[in-house]
């Protein structure tokens, strides 16, 4: 069966994704700019669990009416391969990137039986001057800082989620694939419950598992490197000049599915067949991840 969107052929293949542990956090501040500053620092160096330990991104900006303290805010999603890794990364990053940012406060953005410490750990910065306050079954910590108080919820929920949803844009040129990529990430950006953790929402360094060099857990996926055309076994057409991959982490499989659908539609309609040779997806033969997002099913 062939499937095309705006003349762009869609491979009959699937994206292979993995079970992850995730949390959602809400950062508020006196102005949206401070909240964004904190969120950007907090989610920095969090593109891939391969070396960052965590994948993070800004889910959405929140108006004051949707935040616990009635100030402008930002919702952030974080994904890791284990609860233990989340528990390690989140307090450390919150302490260095949110506690330090002027006027911010940090709140749990999701419920969950399993908890990840926030203020429960950060409170010790208060050196005995911190104050605990329990309001409506939630515990908050108030830590005196130079601009007033850093208000931080004691902990946040941890839930099961999915990481590694993806699709690859096979471009006829760098310009075309860039335009298609930007259109895709722009379409995904306002969606709730998903993030695209790589810079600008996309990566050029799609990887395979392992390497010829011992100790490396991942290395370049030569089968998708156009510059190696004719040198290694490849499944891409000769006219493909550049490929970008959109990687999506989501709170549910359905959220990833919807994001892939919107992203692929936006990319194809932005540049059409004149810009894209096709759309495909990354997988490991279905052996590593239990979530398989078949492109044709996603786009139905």
């Amino acid at each position: 069966m062939t499937l095309e969107i705006a003349g762009v052929p869609i491979d009959d293949t699937f994206a292979e994704a993995f079970d992850m542990k995730a949390t959602r956090l809400v950062i508020t501040a006196h102005t949206i700019q401070w909240a964004l500053d904190a969120a950007i620092a907090f989610t920095g160096f969090a593109t891939s669990v391969i070396a960052c330990g965590i994948e993070m991104g800004i889910e959405q900006e929140l108006p004051p009416s949707e935040t616990p303290d009635g100030r402008p805010g930002v919702a952030v999603l974080a994904f890791a391969v284990s609860g233990k890794e989340l528990e390690k990364q989140i307090p450390r990053r919150a302490g260095q990137c949110i506690l330090t940012c002027p006027t911010t406060a940090l709140f749990a953005g999701i419920d969950g039986e399993k908890r990840i410490a926030l203020g429960k750990t950060l409170r010790y910065f208060g050196d005995g001057y911190q104050i605990s306050k329990q309001i409506a079954e939630r515990r908050y910590w108030r830590i005196p800082v130079m601009d007033g108080e850093f208000l931080c919820e004691a902990d946040t929920g941890r839930v099961d989620a999915v990481g590694g949803g993806n699709f690859l844009l096979l471009g006829r040129s760098l310009d075309a694939v860039t335009a298609a990529c930007r259109a895709a990430t722009k379409a995904i950006a306002p969606m709730a419950a998903v993030i695209t953790p790589f810079p600008g929402g996309a990566t050029r360094s799609g990887s395979k598992v392992g390497s010829k060099y011992g100790g490396l857990v991942a290395s370049t996926n030569e089968a998708y490197c156009p510059t190696l055309h004719g040198v290694v076994k490849q499944f891409i057409a000769p006219e493909v000049e550049a490929i970008l991959e959109i990687v999506i982490d989501g709170m549910t499989p359905n959220a990833i599915s919807l994001a892939m659908r919107n992203g692929i539609h936006a990319a194809c309609t932005a540049v059409g067949a004149a810009g894209l040779v096709g759309i495909t997806a990354g997988n490991y033969g279905g052996k590593l991840g239990r979530h398989h997002f078949h492109l044709h099913e996603v786009l139905q």
């Binding site: 303290d69 104050i131 306050k133 329990q134 908050y140 208000l151």
Partner: protein, 268 residues
Amino acid sequence: MSGWELTLKQQPDFDLDAAAISSVATDAGDISKISLPSARPDLTAEIGELFHVKRRDDELVHISGDLTRFHRLGHAWSGGSLVVEGSVGVQFAAQMRAGTITLRGDADDGVATQMRGGDLFIQGNIGDFAAGPLPGRRSGMRGGRLRLIGNAGHHTGHRLRRGWIMIRGSVGDCLASDMVAGTIAVSANLGDNVGAGMKRGTLVLSPAASLSSLRFTPPRPVSLGITQLIADELQSHLPDVAAMLRNRLHRSLGDLTAGGMGEILLAH
């Protein structure tokens, strides 16, 4: 849970420990035989002798009458709803753990003594030492919420450890004495010696308070993120205090003479 209607036949001429009445909430059998002791071993009374007892279709326990000689009513209430119409004796809802209790009437001293959880709503005036500890114990109320439409006596919130007290009325002297943590909000008048011995916790005072300069830091303007959350919590019961919290505030810390760092939030 079981629903019961208990209507007092006539007020007894001796005081009774009514703590055992709490057990009717989980008793679907014959509750009329439950015995209520008094201070004198020879004077006891069964529920059936004191009240007209009727089963209810719902799970509410409803008690009505002049219950001023019934002490420790609602003791250790652990779930479900109790509604009391009429004034009650001492230690009403003491050691309450969960569920809801509504009192339409006045209560004597020791309301919510060592309360641990649940929602206690009183439409009436209450005596001294509300939410305090049992004699000889270190901590008062440790959780839950006490909302009062009426006035409270002296030493309200003495040694309060956790939980919320919201008072839509006036309070006597020594509000929050030796308070350890938790939150108390008051919308009408205050007695003397507010926060004496206070260690931690939050007092939100809508009326003007004259604080001892020895005990408390001079009030200074503050902008705190937590006040919005406290305001949300107070909004339905104390809208005037909530409105105050949403504006610019002053804060004092103390009791300094006790090495305390409790906070008192006041109107700007």
